[in-house]
């Protein structure tokens, strides 16, 4: 007689506008983690050129580094890594039960510090790319 209406998956992620700090931190940490592990695979693949000899290795690396796109992506990688590290530290504290009341503030702090570090590193990263 009575059935229930399932509002479907939309409500799972369609509610992002209503997400709170902790949930954003969770999503961003997940995202950055996936990027990092993805990068780790590519990274080892690129480094594997070392197996074909010294020149292949050096040429590949320097070839890649001369591409603007790669440089920009590296900045992205930095951002991702820095955020993952900072938020990771935040999570470690949470796991230890330290500073739980300030969990939202520490998330915002991770974001801000990430931004600062990344902005400050841009010159170094893009040096000589143009």
């Amino acid at each position: 007689m009575s059935q229930s209406y399932n509002r479907g998956l939309i409500e799972d992620f369609g509610r992002w506008r209503e997400f709170t700090a902790g949930m954003w931190a969770w999503i961003l940490h997940k995202f950055t983690g996936w990027v990092l592990i993805g990068y780790l695979f590519t990274h080892i693949a690129v480094l594997s050129t070392a197996l074909s000899g010294a020149n292949a290795y050096t040429n590949t690396l320097q070839g890649l580094e001369s591409l603007l796109l790669v440089r920009v992506m590296e900045v992205g990688l930095l951002a991702v890594a820095v955020f993952h590290i900072l938020n990771g530290v935040r999570l470690l504290f949470v796991d230890l039960g330290v500073g739980l009341e300030a969990q939202d503030k520490s998330f915002y702090a991770s974001l801000v510090v990430t931004a600062v570090i990344v902005l400050a590193s841009i010159p170094t990263f893009l040096e000589g790319a143009f």
Partner: protein, 121 residues
């Protein structure tokens, strides 16, 4: 004892190792980034430089450990994320196998490359 041991398969060990590896990775990843982007610029890296660094045992060991912990940390993290979305049954089994194979391949290939770089192989 056996009972104790089996409870480890529940999730406390993966969870715990994820934290331990994370703590290790903070340091190494930061060091890695710093070394290869700030001290040495990535664009200037050459095979010679790399092998020079890799010939140092301490560095080699750190890098291999870095690789292994990062692999574990990353793959375990991905697995946990999938579990959280309600992965069960055969699918879960398949994911387990795929991730394990990928992780082993990555670790093996990476270690091999490192050893070659360091001139051991």
């Amino acid at each position: 004892m056996a009972e104790r041991y089996s409870s480890f398969s529940s999730g406390s060990l993966p969870w715990f190792l994820q934290r331990v590896t994370a703590a290790f990775l903070v340091v190494v990843l930061a060091f890695h980034f710093f070394l290869l982007h700030f001290v040495n610029h990535a664009s200037e890296v050459t095979f010679a430089q790399t092998t020079a660094r890799m010939e140092e045992w301490g560095y080699l060991l750190t890098m291999v450990l870095f690789l292994l912990t990062a692999t574990f940390h990353g793959v375990n993290g991905v697995y946990a994320a999938l579990l959280n979305q309600g992965l069960t049954g055969t699918k879960k089994r398949v994911v387990q196998v795929v991730l394990a194979v990928a992780a082993l391949a990555l670790a093996a290939q990476g270690t091999y490359v490192a050893l070659v770089m360091s001139g051991v192989m």
